[in-house]
Every structure is written in structure tokens, then in C-alpha cells.
Point group: C2
Chain length 130, copies 2
């Protein structure tokens, strides 16, 4: 496990978007933009059960996250990591609401039947902009 620096945490807990990479069952990569967060040295992605990324990480925990400062393309972070936990329930619902407030300035619009989950990623390798 690699330690996240103060600068890493600023990028991961601001309003910058992450691009989250997971692996399909055949090993090919999938990537999509998403909100991101960090806590206790881990990167957190909040997704919904049944989505491609959810199915992928349950099959193969190897993931990557790329994040770039939205107002400065020369400040970015690339993390290769491992999913070590997936948490559903009240905490995941509260977390997506916090992210919605942070990124959009308003509460999360729940979709009926959607089960939110926090994907907890252990950083194994980090590449930072110079």
C-alpha cells in the first residue's frame, strides 16, 4: 500500500472528476468518468450494484484511477490499485449524497431500486504529474 500525500488528497477530495478503470471478464479494460473520494488512505468510488464497474470489480479487483485538476491539466494523479472492500447500506447512501453536495451543490437524486455501494481501493502504485 502506497501512502496518499496531502496533494493527492486535495485532488481526490475536491471537485475534480476521476476516470475509473475496471477489467471486463475477458481482461479488456473499461473506463468511465465518476466522482471520487478518499478516506483512511484509500480511494473511494461510489457506484451502483449491477453496473459494469460493479460486476467487473467483483470479478477482478485490479483497478486504476486517473484524476486531473479541472482547472489545471498539468496537475494529475494516476493510481493503480486493488479493491479491498465493497460496502452497501446506509453508509453508501449517505456517501453518494455527500458527493452530490460536493460536486453539484445539491442532494443526490435517488433512482428507485438502485443500491449504492462504496468501492474501497488500496493504492498500489501512484504516478504523479511533475
Amino acid at each position: 500500500m502506497i501512502e496518499l500525500t496531502k496533494a493527492d488528497l486535495e485532488l481526490l477530495t475536491g471537485t475534480h472528476y476521476a476516470h475509473f478503470v475496471t477489467l471486463h471478464r475477458d481482461g479488456s479494460p473499461h473506463v468511465s468518468p465518476t466522482w471520487v473520494d478518499a478516506a483512511e488512505g484509500h480511494v473511494l468510488i461510489n457506484t451502483a450494484q449491477g453496473r459494469v464497474k460493479d460486476r467487473n470489480v467483483r470479478n477482478d479487483p485490479r483497478v486504476a484511477v486517473s484524476i486531473m485538476k479541472w482547472d489545471d491539466a498539468y496537475t494529475w494523479l494516476s493510481i493503480t490499485g486493488t479493491v479491498v472492500d465493497i460496502q452497501t447500506g446506509e453508509r453508501a447512501e449517505r456517501h453518494i449524497d455527500e458527493l452530490a453536495h460536493r460536486y453539484d451543490g445539491e442532494g443526490f437524486t435517488y433512482k428507485p431500486g438502485q443500491v449504492r455501494e462504496i468501492v474501497k481501493i488500496r493504492p498500489d502504485r501512484i504516478i504523479r504529474s511533475d
Copy 2:
């Protein structure tokens, strides 16, 4: 091969940054932000020989590209594709210079000994924002 729409091309040939995913030899994903371009129905990434992404695509041609409009997070594109060609030489040098002008408004600063290359990606699957 999936056809790129006019809206896709606008995203791929503007000044929006892409996040380019390649696979390490052990199958784990690598992702980093990069300039991007498109031509003749393919996505083009300009990189340098010897870099992680260069070594990765030469080993496994399966890649992915995520791109988000820098001024509108709700317009994005996620492409899973295959590297079908890698081109070096004068055309690759000219291409990185064009990209530098487009993104930074000035010519590319060449690094001594660096060999540029155009990685040509065939889109196999595209997911678009709603």
C-alpha cells in the same frame, strides 16, 4: 468497428483531455491523462517510444479511452478499442506539434532522443453520456 458520431468527433478533436488505459504485462490496468485526436474513424494518441503505454500496447493491443468535456462534466465518452497501428517518423512528429498548438497554443517542446509515435485505436465499443 463502431462508427464515431459527429458529437464524438467534437469531443475527440477539441481541447478536452483523454484518459488513456493500457494493460500491464500482468493484465493490471494503467491509466494516464493525455491529448487525443481522431481521424478516419479511429482514435489517435500520440506518445513516446519506451513509455509505459507504448510498452503496454505493444504487448497487448486492448485499450480504453475516457474523455469528458472540460467545461461540462455531463458530456463524456468511454471507448473500448484495439490498437491497430503504431506510426513513428515525420508524421508522428508533425502530429504532436499540431496537438501542442491545439491544446497549448504553441509548438511542441522536443526532448532530445525522444521518438514520437501515433497509436491508432479502432473503437470496438462506445458508451456515451445520456
